[in-house]
């Protein structure tokens, strides 16, 4: 049943994210850049900063040239001291520039991450339950955490590195052209070759690196499975076969990593070789000119520095380019999530309501998830205001789906659900969901205090109202037994409380909201007798005067319901009260007698654990 999906984060879901996406879609890039719009002054400042730093980087060589030519070669101490002073100013300016830039960009990155995450969270909350039942939790988590990270990184450090690299190379070329155009041509010709080779290498290395991570996650999953299932692996004598399987995965990882390492090893020497060739050419052509007195030693020295220097921006550019593929893919996924429309939306011409008190009617309602087989088939029933309905039947029969339809977590694929006289799609979603109180089988509590959790029911409730609701629900006593009472922390997911206590809190929370319709999925697990009695009491508080739908497991609940509907295969197969259904000796009779036996067997089981025995006593 999709709505009862297990919430587990799987390492396996990371695999799909590692698929190579190489085509750069301008739409995505444009949309990504738009995220910078509110921050354009900062970004502009950062770009100006980095351009100046980069200019000064290139200017060093010019300064060095002058120190050599005008100071050292000319043996002029005064000029030299003057130039050193310039040097100091340049260094200081650069330091300030670096500080500002890193600070601005670092902060901007955090702001962008914050924006993306907030936007995603907000959007996720607007999506319908169906989205969450078909989308793996791990996938969603990765979008909000790692993808936003990559996007922000690309927009900040990625942009910054690119600007730095491009300006750095440009300024170097500019100065070289000024110093000696003939020699500069040699460098200018070698530049595209170096850039091309760098890009090729980087993309390949990055590809293999990611493939190796992909192989790694498969390997981890396989290892995990083999250890978890060790008993069955041994019993079925799969050891050698599984070792073979593992070898394949492990070899994959080895080979991908090996290729990445090999390419990395070849990459740098290759670039350096190309650089060395242009260096030799410069030394040869330039050396001759120095000998002929056409240029100074300083100029030659400057050219040598430039050739060495531009190796860095080229490598940086290639790295950003390779990583950009991945960040663009991240952005595409994030945007696809943001573009996802909630399946259940408010209609036009809404009919706002204060109260949903009234009759509930399902008329010929069918429902199916996407293209699957219908899970609810032509269901019709009518419940007068204030009645209690017990839904019984086997797991997967459709009880939960009926309740989900009622709460409008899903809408019927065909047919009409009428609440208080109108088709409920005419009401605003918020009005419906705020007027229906839901108590889940294993209620979800949020980390925080008991009081916080109770207040979830109605945000503007006073402390008195909260305590009042807790008293009505029978939760007050156990809460007061805690050291901090209502301020007791419930732990992550409420795991400091027992299932029974969680239900009591959940019932109190529902009571606080004073809903018109009450929906409850009774716990199947046994709860200790005292808590059970309290839960029953709380339930009756909620049921009185309200139309209630209970997915019932407790015989007492079932028996006391005004109407029992036996749901099987998405249809009502039996309907009536307890006595009438028992006399039919049909499905209900079977369910009831089985549950009756089960309850007593649990109660009297001489082999039961101490714990269960205590709770069943």
């Amino acid at each position: 049943m999709p709505c009862k999906r297990k919430l587990t984060v799987s390492i396996q879901y990371n695999e799909e994210e590692l698929d190579d996406v190489v085509d750069l879609k301008s739409g995505v890039v444009g949309r990504l850049l738009r995220a910078l719009k509110p921050y354009w002054p900062q970004m502009l400042l950062a770009i100006i900063g980095i351009a100046s730093v980069s200019y000064l980087d290139a200017y060093y060589a010019v300064l060095n040239k002058r120190i050599i030519d005008e100071g050292i070669v000319a043996r002029n101490l005064e000029v030299m001291i003057g130039l050193f002073r310039n040097y100091a100013v340049v260094v200081l300016t650069q330091m300030v520039g670096f500080f500002l830039m890193i600070f601005i960009i670092g902060r901007l990155g955090e702001q962008l991450r914050y924006d993306f995450r907030k936007k995603l969270f907000h959007h996720l909350q607007s999506l319908s339950l169906s989205y969450f039942s078909k989308t793996p939790l791990g996938w969603i988590m990765s979008r909000v955490t790692s993808d936003t990270e990559k996007m922000a990184d690309l927009l900040t450090w990625g942009v910054l590195d690119t600007v730095w690299a491009v300006t750095n190379i440009s300024f170097a070329v500019f100065f070289m052209l000024q110093l000696n155009p003939a020699l500069a041509v040699i460098v200018i010709v070698s530049l595209p070759v170096m850039i091309y080779v760098s890009f090729k290498f980087r993309v390949k290395i990055y590809h293999h690196y990611r493939q190796s991570r992909k192989a790694n996650s498969k390997m981890t999953a396989s290892l995990n499975e083999n250890i978890t299932g060790v008993r069955i692996v041994k019993a079925l004598r799969r050891e050698s076969k599984n070792l073979d399987d593992f070898k394949v995965l492990s070899t994959d990882m080895y080979q991908e990593s090996y290729r990445a390492v090999l390419l990395s090893a070849i990459y740098l020497p290759t670039i350096q070789t190309i650089s060395a060739i242009s260096l030799v050419l410069i030394l040869w052509r330039g050396g001759l000119q120095v000998a002929g007195g056409a240029i100074t030693v300083g100029v030659l020295q400057a050219f040598i520095s430039y050739i060495m220097m531009i190796l860095w921006p080229i490598q940086d550019l290639a790295r950003v380019y390779a990583e950009m593929q991945n960040a663009i893919a991240s952005s595409e996924r994030v945007f696809s999530l943001l573009d996802m429309q909630p399946e259940i939306r408010n209609r036009e011409n809404l009919l706002p309501v204060d109260s949903l008190a009234g009759d509930v009617e399902f008329e010929d309602v069918s429902f199916h998830y996407e293209d699957d087989e219908p899970v609810i088939k032509n269901l019709s029933f009518y419940i007068p205001q204030g009645q209690t309905v017990a839904l019984v039947g086997t797991t997967g029969g459709g009880k939960t789906t009926i309740v989900n339809l009622l709460c409008r977590f899903y809408e019927p694929s065909s047919g009409v659900i009428r609440v208080a006289g109108h088709d409920y799609t005419q009401y605003p979603l918020e009005d419906i969901q705020s007027r229906i109180g839901v108590v889940l089988q294993v209620p979800h509590l949020f980390s925080g205090s008991i009081r916080d959790n109770l207040r979830y029911g109605r945000l503007d409730a006073t402390d008195e109202e909260i305590e009042q609701a807790a008293k009505l629900a029978g939760a007050h006593e156990f809460i007061m037994n805690f050291e901090k009472g209502y301020n007791q922390d419930v732990g992550e997911g409420g795991n400091q409380l027992s299932v029974g206590q969680k239900q009591l809190v959940s019932i109190a929370r529902a009571l606080l909201a004073e809903p018109d319709i009450f929906v409850m999925d009774e716990a199947t697990s046994s709860v200790d007798t005292l808590t059970e009695a309290l839960i029953q009491k709380g339930m009756h508080q909620l049921m009185s005067g309200r139309t209630s739908f209970i997915i019932a497991h407790r015989l007492s609940t079932i028996k006391s319901a005004d109407l029992i509907m036996v749901i099987e295969d998405g249809q009502i197969i039996e309907k009536g009260n307890h006595e009438c259904l028992m006399r039919q000796k049909g499905h209900y009779y079977n369910l009831y007698t089985k549950q009756f036996r089960h309850d007593l067997e649990t109660k009297y089981d001489p082999f039961a654990d101490q714990e269960t025995q205590a709770s069943a006593a």
């Binding site: 793996p136 069955i232 041994k234 079925l236 004598r237 001489p606 654990d609």
Partner: protein, 269 residues
């Protein structure tokens, strides 16, 4: 680890004898204490007792997941330690309460550990016998449907029937069953029971039992308490002596009459 190599040419029959077997995971703490019983090939042995009474430890000794601390276990009259572990495990099938499935296709899970070529027909036959064939056909990709996080999530009962199909293909002489069907509905329970019955035919079966119904037809019932056998015998025999077994039976009778009372009450309204 000694290199035990005994491997009878024509397979094993499945006669089991525990001879004063004691077993401890940790020193000085016996989880099985001087356990002796014997059972003929093809018979059904039911193990009854609370959690931690030694039932699971006992069946763990059969495929030699652990070796006895003292005493000996004889299989067809030969000490278990003489058999090669590999061979021994090929003769024992295990169906757990909620079997562990691997994240591969349903087909691969059924043939997992079947160390021979099996035809599609044979696989489907086994699945049919285990009452899981129809369920599998209900999935979009049928037998190629992936199990686990990237595919379908199977219920406990479905997993169990998958394991039954697998065990049918392995065709072992000895069976170990963890018989707990508490979480499945009646129809499924009937199906599982039928599948188990066909699986148990002509195989020496050890049932870790949780309910008395599955025990009543056992050839030998062993009631465990704190690692010791406290009662042993057939259903009829045990009913005639005071002890846990009779207590359980009485409880069942009480439940039956309570239920009847309840039904009668409704009928008279």
């Amino acid at each position: 680890m000694t290199a035990a190599t005994y491997q009878p040419e024509d397979g094993i029959k499945g006669q089991i004898c525990f001879d004063q077997v004691s077993f401890a995971y940790e020193k000085d703490y016996l989880v099985l204490d001087d356990v002796s019983f014997s059972c003929e090939a093809g018979k059904v042995v039911a193990l009854l007792g609370s959690t931690g009474s030694g039932k699971t430890s006992l069946v763990n000794l059969l495929p030699r997941f652990y070796d006895v601390t003292s005493g000996q276990i004889l299989l067809d009259g030969v000490n278990l330690n003489e058999y090669s572990r590999e061979f021994l495990r090929s003769q024992i099938g295990i169906v757990e309460q909620e079997p562990f499935l691997f994240s591969c296709s349903i087909q691969d899970n059924i043939t997992y550990g079947v160390h021979r070529e099996v035809s599609q027909e044979e696989i489907e036959e086994a699945a049919r016998e285990a009452a899981i064939h129809e369920v599998i056909l209900g999935f979009k990709n049928g037998y190629d449907t992936l199990v686990g996080e990237r595919g379908v999530t199977l219920s406990g009962g479905q997993k169990q029937r998958l394991a039954i199909a697998r065990t049918l293909l392995i065709n072992p002489r000895i069976l170990i069953l963890d018989d707990s069907t508490s979480s499945v509905d009646m129809e499924t329970e009937v199906q599982i029971r039928a599948a188990l019955d066909s699986l148990m035919t002509n195989r020496t079966t050890f049932i870790i039992a949780h309910r008395i119904q599955s025990i009543m037809n056992a050839d030998l019932i062993l009631v465990f308490d704190k690692g010791k056998i406290v009662q042993t015998g057939e259903h009829e025999a045990l009913l005639n002596q005071d002890g846990i077994y009779k207590d359980i039976y009485d409880i069942q009778a009480r439940i039956d009459s309570a239920l009847q009372e309840e039904i009668d009450r409704v009928d008279t309204i």
